[in-house]
Structure formats: structure tokens, C-alpha cells
């Protein structure tokens, strides 16, 4: 058989090479995606048959205080964690970019929580935030019910989440800052710019594309928050309804209560919410993200 020229169309090889991925995606993603949309219009339970119920799941969802509260909790969690977390990460990245000794060690320390299972992270923070014996209350002579007070617990979870993510975001921002050409700073200091002016007029605009990526990513991750709340608040905690996120509610409805139809509606709403918020971000980016370098 004569070999085809390199650039010629070659369907046999092309399809053979993409087949595992495409078949896998069809089975693992595309079919489940369609199935979840379908289920959201049915009364599917954990076992047995289901009936088509139209928009009933969506209607009961939007009239459920628990669901509305979970939506608000999720948004509140993003408001609490994303701006502060990304800002702190930017500070860490800028400090790590300075001419300091032990840069590698500092970077490794800040990044550490990223490789620790959230289950273990939540466990130790829960212990430190323990109202009676926790190190935080005893050392600072506080009497705060960090975990069980419904009005406080979401702040506690937010603190731990910010702590966990700072190093990861800082590493991404640092790689953005390091790509900025040194010549800009040299020119600026020759012109007598202060460090603060250099940050404001060079670093910030030049790092803004990376900053945008980090913001979007952190926002999407925060909208999907589940494990920290599952571990730190959990079933049986009186504060649960004031802290549970949409994905946590989804998990409880689908795998604990067995309401698969209703749970499907919740997860579709969550994905729509993520889509809408990301779209708004992408529209807003023109105002502050600088791509002309």
C-alpha cells in the first residue's frame, strides 16, 4: 500500500487516535449530560421507575426556602472568598517576586495545602476552631462558636478556603508577573517612578490577563464548593442550613435522600448559574484586562 503524503487527509489514523477519547467522552460526559437534563423533568428516585413531571422539580425548587438559601450561601461564599483570596494571593506573588532569599522554600510552604486532601485540612481547622478547647479561642481568649453558630460558620469555612487556595493562586500570578519584561521597570525607575507607581502602572496592567484567569477559575471553584462544607459543617450540625452550598444540597438530595430528579434540577441550575456569572465576567473584562502588549 502506498503511503499517503504527510499533510494529506487520513481519516483512518485520525479516527483511530481520537477514538478512545471521543468514545470515553460520549459515555462518561455526553450521555450523562443528556440523562441529567432528562431526569430533571422526571420524578426519578434512588431506585425504580420514574414519571415525567414537566417543570415540577424546577417549580418546587424555586419555592423551597432551603434551595434559595443554598443559592444565597453559595453566592455569599464567593463574595467572601474570591476578592479577598485573590488579593492576598497577589500580595504573596509580589512578595515572592522580590529579590529575597529562600524564595523556593516560601513558595513551597504557601503551596502546601494544595496537595493535602481537603478532608485532612478541614479536620485540623475544625479542631483549631473548636469552641471549648480549640487553640484559637483559648489563645485569643475568645468565646466564638466558630462551627455551630449559624451566623458565623460560613465565615469560618471561608477563612479555611482562602487559606487553602492562596498558594495555588499565588503560583499562577507569580508566573504571570515573571513574564513581565524587566526593561519596563528599568525605564520606570530611570524616570523616577516609586515602587508603588511601578506596581500600579506596570505590574497590575501587565498581569491583568493572568489575574482575570485566576479570578474566573477561583470563582468557578467557589461556586462548586462542597468538600469543605461537607467536612466542617456536615449532617446534624444545627448550622447546616445556613452554610450548605448548592453542590452540597445536590449531594444530599441525590445520594442521601435519593431524589435524583429534584437533585438533577439543582445541579442544572448550578451549572447555569456558573455559566451566567462567567459570561458576565467575560463581558466585564474589557474594562480592566489589558491584552495589548
Amino acid at each position: 500500500m502506498k503511503k499517503k503524503a504527510w499533510g494529506n487527509q487520513d481519516n483512518a489514523w485520525g479516527y483511530m487516535m481520537i477514538a478512545p477519547t471521543i468514545i470515553g467522552l460520549l459515555i462518561l460526559n455526553v450521555y450523562p449530560f443528556i440523562q441529567t437534563i432528562f431526569m430533571s423533568f422526571t420524578s426519578a428516585k434512588a431506585f425504580g421507575g420514574y414519571k415525567f413531571v414537566g417543570l415540577k422539580n424546577y417549580a418546587s425548587m424555586f419555592s423551597s426556602p432551603e434551595f434559595l438559601r443554598a443559592t444565597w450561601n453559595t453566592i455569599l461564599f464567593c463574595i467572601l472568598t474570591v476578592p479577598v483570596g485573590v488579593m492576598l494571593a497577589l500580595v504573596v506573588a509580589i512578595l515572592l517576586n522580590a529579590k529575597i532569599k529562600g524564595k523556593v522554600a516560601f513558595r513551597a510552604i504557601f503551596f502546601l495545602p494544595m496537595v493535602v486532601a481537603p478532608a485532612a485540612v478541614a479536620m485540623v481547622w475544625k479542631w483549631m476552631f473548636n469552641a471549648e478547647y480549640g487553640i484559637i479561642n483559648t489563645v485569643f481568649h475568645l468565646k466564638v462558636d466558630w462551627i455551630t453558630n449559624p451566623n458565623i460558620v460560613i465565615f469560618t469555612v471561608a477563612i479555611v478556603s482562602i487559606w487553602s487556595a492562596i498558594g495555588y493562586d499565588a503560583v499562577l500570578l507569580l508566573s504571570g508577573i515573571q513574564n513581565i519584561s524587566k526593561s519596563y521597570y528599568e525605564a520606570a525607575s530611570l524616570d523616577g517612578c516609586t515602587k508603588l507607581q511601578q506596581f500600579w502602572y506596570i505590574t497590575l496592567p501587565m498581569v491583568s490577563p493572568t489575574l482575570f484567569v485566576v479570578l474566573i477559575m477561583r470563582l468557578m471553584t467557589s461556586l462548586k464548593v462542597y468538600d469543605m462544607i461537607y467536612m466542617m459543617v456536615g449532617e446534624g450540625n444545627p448550622a447546616l442550613s445556613k452554610a450548605q452550598s448548592l453542590i452540597y444540597l445536590f449531594y444530599r438530595e441525590s445520594f442521601i435522600s435519593g431524589n435524583k430528579g429534584y437533585a438533577s434540577a439543582i445541579v442544572i441550575w448550578t451549572v447555569l448559574l456558573i455559566g451566567i456569572i462567567s459570561a458576565v465576567q467575560f463581558m466585564g473584562q474589557k474594562k480592566w484586562v489589558n491584552y495589548d502588549v
Binding site: 481520537i18 512578595l95 485532612a120 479542631w127 483559648t138 487559606w163 508566573s175 462548586k224
Partner: protein, 274 residues
């Protein structure tokens, strides 16, 4: 001027050291608590170092959780997921860049769209498939959602885009077929990206909690993350035991991280934005 510079450097060091203490302290406190007796852990004011270093909590938590199984399950899951992701994503990434075939853009759009959809939307039907196959509580079920990766395909496609067509064409003209061009010449050139994808896949699989909680409910067949989380409710009052368990669960990954710190961080920086 000089003085001012020294001052700002000193401030930078102070900020970084304070930050590092905040990052390290929880892990230190975990370690110290795990060696205390429960009575000492609950003492007010708290002691910093354990008065006696005792290993009782470690013995106890090893009775409560089958750590041997959990380590093995987690290691196999990570290994298999990494192998699957690297093989399938490399093949597809190569084909999407270096081979012309019909409807290529259609299939690639499919990959991109899947990459953007949050994974939770797939989880109920994925579980139903595993249940129907009778494969819950197996290593296969742990690997199942990670058999292929839309993100990995997208990421490795970029690596192949960075290799000039002439390199592939030269190998092809020298007698390699399209498969050999891939395995012998191009794949080795994507090593840094493959390493980054491996780290990303491993860390994601290790920290994921929902899938193992759903698919492998038997404590002997689940992962470290999910196994550890099962202690949460039952032993919520015995903190030294909880800390010993957390320490044992995080240790393997932290040790790997200390050895391959550069690869971990650079891998994440490369895959960043996901």
C-alpha cells in the same frame, strides 16, 4: 534611598515569614495533637508540646480505618488515572494537531464544550452506570470518571501545537508510520506537558471527595480522602485520633511533594486556569 530599600526588604521578609507561620501552623498543630492523650488535648490552657509523646492515637486510628487498603486503593486509582489520561489525551492531542481528518473541528468542539461543563452534572448517571455494571466498590469504579479527560486533551493539544510540522514530517518521510511518528518522535518531545498533566491528574484524584463517597461506600474499597471523612461524625470528640488519621492520610502525598516540589508547582502553573 538605600535605607528605604532595606526597610522595604525587611517588611517583605516579615510578611512572608508571618504568612509561612500561618500556613505551617495547622500542620504542626495536627502533628503535636496526634501525639497527645485526649485528656491533654482538652486541657486548658493548652500545652504546646505533648508532655509524653505517645503513639496510642495512631494505633487506635489504624484499628478504626483499614489504612493498608486505603493506601493501596488510592495509589492504584492515581496510577491508573494518570496512565489513562496520558495515553488517551496524548493520542487525541496528537491527532487533533498533526493529522487531517473529516469533521475534526466538530470533534474538537465536543472536547472543548465538555471541558467547560462542571463535572458534578455527570455524577448521578455515572454512578448509575457503575451500579448497573455491578462495579461499585472496585478499583475500576474509582478510575471510571478519569478514563478520559477533555481538559487533558485540550492541554496536550497545545503541547503538540508547539512542535513544528517539519519534525513530524521528517520522521514520516524516514519511514515511520503515523503511529510511530507519534510514539517515537513527538510523544517524547511533550514530556514537560505530560508531567504537568500527571501531577494535575494525581492531585485532583487524591483530593476528590464526592466520587469515592458515592461510588465506593465500603470502607475497605474507598480512598484515603473518603475513608478519613468517615471518622468525622463518629469520633468528633477524640481529636488526637482524628489528627493521627489526618496525618496518616496526608503523609504520602506530602512526602512526594517534598521530593518533587518543583515538578508539582510548575505542573500546576502550567495547567493553571483549570
Amino acid at each position: 534611598m538605600r535605607k528605604k530599600k532595606n526597610l522595604s526588604m525587611a517588611l517583605a521578609y516579615i510578611a512572608l515569614i508571618l504568612g509561612s507561620i500561618i500556613m505551617i501552623f495547622p500542620f504542626l498543630w495536627m502533628l503535636l495533637t496526634s501525639f497527645k492523650t485526649n485528656a491533654e488535648a482538652l486541657q486548658i490552657p493548652p500545652t504546646f508540646l505533648p508532655s509524653v509523646w505517645n503513639f496510642d492515637s495512631f494505633a487506635k486510628v489504624m484499628d478504626l480505618l483499614p489504612f493498608g487498603n486505603l493506601y493501596l486503593n488510592t495509589a492504584l486509582m492515581i496510577l491508573l488515572r494518570v496512565v489513562c489520561a496520558v495515553v488517551t489525551c496524548s493520542m487525541a492531542g496528537y491527532a487533533f494537531v498533526k493529522i487531517n481528518f473529516k469533521f475534526k473541528n466538530f470533534w474538537f468542539t465536543l472536547v472543548i464544550v465538555q471541558q467547560m461543563i462542571p463535572g458534578q452534572i455527570f455524577i448521578i448517571p455515572q454512578y448509575q452506570m457503575i451500579a448497573k455494571m455491578g462495579m461499585t466498590d472496585t478499583i475500576f469504579s474509582l478510575v471510571f470518571p478519569g478514563l478520559v479527560s477533555a481538559f487533558g486533551t485540550f492541554f496536550l493539544r497545545q503541547a503538540y501545537m508547539g512542535i513544528p510540522d517539519e519534525v513530524a514530517e521528517a520522521a514520516y518521510l524516514d519511514g515511520c508510520n503515523r503511529w510511530q511518528t507519534f510514539t517515537k518522535v513527538l510523544f517524547p518531545l511533550t514530556k514537560p506537558s505530560v508531567a504537568a498533566l500527571s501531577v494535575f491528574t494525581a492531585v485532583f484524584a487524591y483530593t476528590d471527595l464526592m466520587w469515592p463517597l458515592v461510588a465506593n461506600t465500603n470502607i475497605n474499597s474507598t480512598t484515603l480522602s473518603a475513608g478519613l471523612s468517615s471518622l468525622n461524625g463518629q469520633f468528633s470528640t477524640n481529636y488526637p485520633v482524628l489528627m493521627a488519621g489526618s496525618l496518616l492520610a496526608m503523609l504520602p502525598m506530602v512526602v512526594l511533594y517534598l521530593f518533587f516540589q518543583k515538578q508539582f508547582i510548575e505542573g500546576v502553573a502550567m495547567t493553571g486556569g483549570k
